[in-house]
C-alpha cells in the first residue's frame, strides 16, 4: 500500500521562467568551454561557419521542440514526443539516444569541471599512473570526477528546489561573465583583419569541417533540458515557448560570438592547443582584465560545466521516470520518493551509468575528454531526427491539440498543417546522423550498440510484462492531455482543448446516426 501510494506522488511544479531558461542555458553555455577548442582544432579559420551550419539545424530542431514542449508539457522531452507521434518502439529508440547523451553529458561535464578546478592544481592535472594494462591514467582527475557525479546525484535526490536554485544563480553569473568576455573582446581587442586573414588562409577540408560541425551540434542538448523540466515548470505552456525561443537566440549569439571574437584576437592554433581551457586562454588576451581573466574564467568554467553536468543528472532521471511511466522500461525506476518527491532510483542508477562511462573514458587509452566528446553528438542527433519526424506526425495525428506556439511556415491540407521548417529539420538532423557516423570513430561502433542494447532490453521487458513489442500500448491521449493541462493550470488551453474534444465527439456521432 505504501509503495502504491508513493508511486502516485507527482513531480513538484516549481521551476520559474528564469529557472526554465537556466536549465537549457546551463547545458549550452557549458558547451562553449568544452567545444570551442575541439571545434577550432577541426574547423580552423572557419570555426564560426561550423557553428553557423550546426546553428541552422539547431534552429529547426529548436522550433520543433518549442512547439511540442509547450503543447505537451510533460517530463520526457523528445522521447515522449516521438512515442506520441511515431509509437512506443520509436519512443524507446529516442529515449535510448537521449539517455546516452544525458549520461555522457554528466560524465563529460563533471570531468571538465574537475579539469578546470585542476587549473589551480597543476600537479593533479599532470598526474598519470599505470594500472596493469592501462597506462597514463589520471586517477586523481577520475576520483574528482566521481566525487562530482556523486555530489550532483545527492543534490538531485534532495529535490528540484535546491538544484533549480543552484542552476539559476550560477546560470546568471555565467551569462554575465561570458557576455563580459565577448563584449570586452569585441570592443577593445578584436581585429577584423586578423579574423579575415584566418578565414581566407586557414580554411579546413570538407571532412574536417563536417567533423567540426558534428562537434558543434553538442550545444543543442540544452533545449531538450527545457522540455525535460516542463513537467516541473510553473505554467509550462506559457513559459516553455518563451524560454525556448529566447534560448535559441541567446545560444546562437554566444555560439557564433565566441569563435568570431577568438579568431579576431588570437590565432586558431593557440585556441586549438588549449582544448582544456580555450575560453580561459582567450580571456587572458583581453585588455584591462586579462591578468585576472585566466583564473576567473577557470572558476567560471568549473561552475558552469558543473551546472551542465547537473542538467544531465536531472535530464536522465526525468527521462527514465517518463519512460517507465509510459511502460517502456521497468516501473521500478519511476518510483518517486515520498519525502523528497524526486525519482531517486533513476537518479542513482543513471548517475552510476555516467560514472561507469567516465571510468571507461579514463581507461580508454585516449584523452578522456576527447573520448567522451566523440560519443556525444550521436545520441542528440538521432533523438532530434526522431523528434522532428514526430512533429510532423503529431501535426497529422493530433491537429486539434492546442499549440501555444506553432513552427512558422506551414502548408495546409484540410485541417492539417505541415511545417516546412519541420521537414527541413528532418533532413538536417538525418544528415547530421550520417556525418557523425562517418566522422566519429568511437561513436560509429559504441553508440549504435548502446541503442541496440536498449532495444534488446525493451523487447525482453515488453514480452515479460505481456505488452506489445512493436505496437503501441493503447492510450487515451485526449484524456491524458486534459489531465496535463488541468495539472498545469493552463486553463485557456484546457478550455480550448475540452471544447474541441466535445466537438469531435459530436462529429463522430453524426455518421453513426446516419448509419442507423
Amino acid at each position: 500500500m505504501e509503495e502504491e501510494s508513493s508511486s502516485k506522488v507527482k513531480l513538484r511544479r516549481e521551476i520559474s521562467v528564469w529557472g526554465s531558461f537556466c536549465w537549457g542555458y546551463a547545458d549550452v553555455g557549458a558547451d562553449v568551454y568544452v567545444a570551442l577548442g575541439l571545434v577550432m582544432a577541426a574547423a580552423q579559420g572557419a570555426t564560426p561557419l561550423a557553428f553557423a551550419i550546426a546553428g541552422i539545424v539547431y534552429i529547426f530542431v529548436g522550433l520543433a521542440y518549442t512547439e511540442m514542449a509547450s503543447a505537451y508539457p510533460v517530463a520526457g522531452g523528445g522521447h515522449y514526443f516521438t512515442l506520441r507521434g511515431l509509437g512506443d518502439f520509436w519512443g524507446l529508440v529516442a529515449g535510448a539516444a537521449l539517455m546516452l547523451d544525458y549520461t555522457v553529458d554528466v560524465a563529460l561535464f563533471a570531468m571538465a569541471s574537475a579539469g578546470y578546478i585542476n587549473f589551480f592544481f597543476p600537479a593533479a592535472r599532470e598526474f598519470a599512473d599505470s594500472l596493469g594494462l592501462f597506462h597514463n591514467v589520471n586517477l586523481i582527475w577520475l576520483a574528482e570526477t566521481l566525487v562530482l557525479i556523486t555530489f550532483l546525484a545527492a543534490l538531485n535526490v534532495k529535490g528540484i528546489r535546491e538544484s533549480s536554485l543552484f542552476n539559476e544563480v550560477l546560470g546568471a553569473l555565467d551569462m554575465v561573465m561570458e557576455a563580459s568576455i565577448i563584449v570586452i573582446g569585441f570592443a577593445f581587442a578584436w581585429r577584423p583583419e586578423l579574423f579575415l586573414h584566418q578565414w581566407h588562409n586557414e580554411f579546413p577540408t570538407t571532412k574536417q569541417l563536417l567533423y567540426a560541425v558534428s562537434i558543434a551540434v553538442i550545444s543543442y542538448v540544452g533545449l531538450e533540458s527545457v522540455s525535460q523540466a516542463a513537467q516541473e515548470t510553473v505554467r509550462p505552456a506559457t513559459v516553455v515557448p518563451r524560454t525556448s525561443l529566447a534560448l535559441i537566440i541567446v545560444v546562437l549569439m554566444f555560439a557564433l560570438a565566441f569563435p568570431t571574437v577568438s579568431l579576431g584576437i588570437v590565432n586558431w592554433q593557440d585556441i586549438a592547443q588549449r582544448e582544456g581551457d580555450p575560453v580561459a586562454y582567450l580571456a587572458t588576451h583581453l585588455p584591462y582584465i586579462g591578468f585576472l581573466a585566466g583564473p576567473m574564467a577557470a572558476i567560471l568554467a568549473a561552475t558552469i560545466v558543473l551546472i551542465s553536468a547537473n542538467t544531465g543528472v536531472m535530464g536522465s532521471s526525468r527521462l527514465a521516470y517518463s519512460m517507465a511511466e509510459l511502460g517502456l522500461i521497468s516501473d521500478w525506476l519511476s518510483h518517486v520518493h515520498p519525502k523528497f518527491r524526486t525519482p531517486v532510483r533513476s537518479i542513482v542508477f543513471f548517475a552510476g551509468v555516467a560514472a561507469a562511462q567516465a571510468i571507461f573514458a579514463f581507461f580508454s587509452g585516449r584523452k578522456a575528454m576527447e573520448t567522451m566528446a566523440n560519443m556525444y553528438a550521436f545520441g542528440a542527433m538521432l533523438a532530434y531526427f526522431l523528434s522532428t519526424m514526430a512533429l510532423i506526425a503529431l501535426r497529422i495525428k493530433e491537429p486539434h491539440t492546442p499549440r501555444p506556439y506553432k513552427v512558422p511556415f506551414n502548408i495546409r491540407f484540410g485541417e492539417v498543417e505541415i511545417p516546412v521548417l519541420g521537414v527541413f529539420g528532418v533532413i538536417g538532423t538525418f544528415a547530421m546522423v550520417v556525418i557523425v557516423l562517418w566522422t566519429h570513430e568511437i561513436a560509429r561502433i559504441t553508440r549504435p550498440l548502446w541503442v541496440v542494447a536498449w532495444i534488446a532490453y525493451y523487447v525482453w521487458y515488453r514480452r515479460k510484462t505481456d505488452k506489445p513489442v512493436f505496437r503501441s500500448i493503447p492510450r487515451n491521449w485526449d484524456e491524458e492531455q486534459l489531465a496535463i493541462l488541468a495539472d498545469t493550470g493552463e486553463w485557456e488551453l484546457y478550455e480550448r482543448f475540452r471544447i474541441e474534444i466535445e466537438r469531435r465527439k459530436r462529429l463522430a456521432k453524426k455518421p453513426q446516426q446516419g448509419q442507423k
Partner: protein
Amino acid sequence: MQPHPLGVLIAIGFLVTLGLTLLWMLRLPQPMPKEVARAVYSVEAARTILVPILELFYSERAVELACRLGRLQNATIVLAYTIEVPRVISLDAPLPKEINERAQKALEHAKQIVERHELKAVTDIVRAREADEGIRRTAKTYQADLIVLGVEFAENRVPSLFTRVVDALLRRPPCELIIDTMPA
C-alpha cells in the same frame, strides 16, 4: 590597443540583443483564471453558427452578428431560409417560382455578408410545416453550436414580444440560442 569601430558596434549590438531577448522572455502574460477561461472559450466553441434568414433587415443584421461572433474561431455560418409549407400540400410539392426566387435572393445577400468576413458560408432552403421545426431540423443536420436569430421588435404586441418561432425555440432550444432585436 585601439578599439575597432566594427568591434564596438558588434559589442553594442550583442548587448542590446541579449538584453531585449531576456526582457521579452521574462515579461510573461498574466495567467487566466479557470472561470474566465471557461467563459471566454465557451463563446469560441461555436464553430457552426446557424442563422435563419428572411429577406429582412433584422435577419441580415443577425448574419453580421453571427460573423463577428464566429470570426475568431473561423466558424462556418449556415444560412437557412425556411419555407413554411401548408399542411394541405405535401412537403416536397412544387412551390411558386417567386417563393424560390425570394429565398435565393435573401440567401445571396446573407452570403455576401459572410464572405466579407472571409468565413465559410453554407446556404440551404428548408421546407417545414412550422418554421421552428425547420430551424430545429437544420440545426441538427449541420451540428450547429449556436443559432443567432434576428427578430423584428414589435412594440405594440408587448408582452408577446417575439414571434411564435422564438417562443417555440426558447421552450425547446436545439443548441445555444441568441435572439437579437432592436428597439424601433
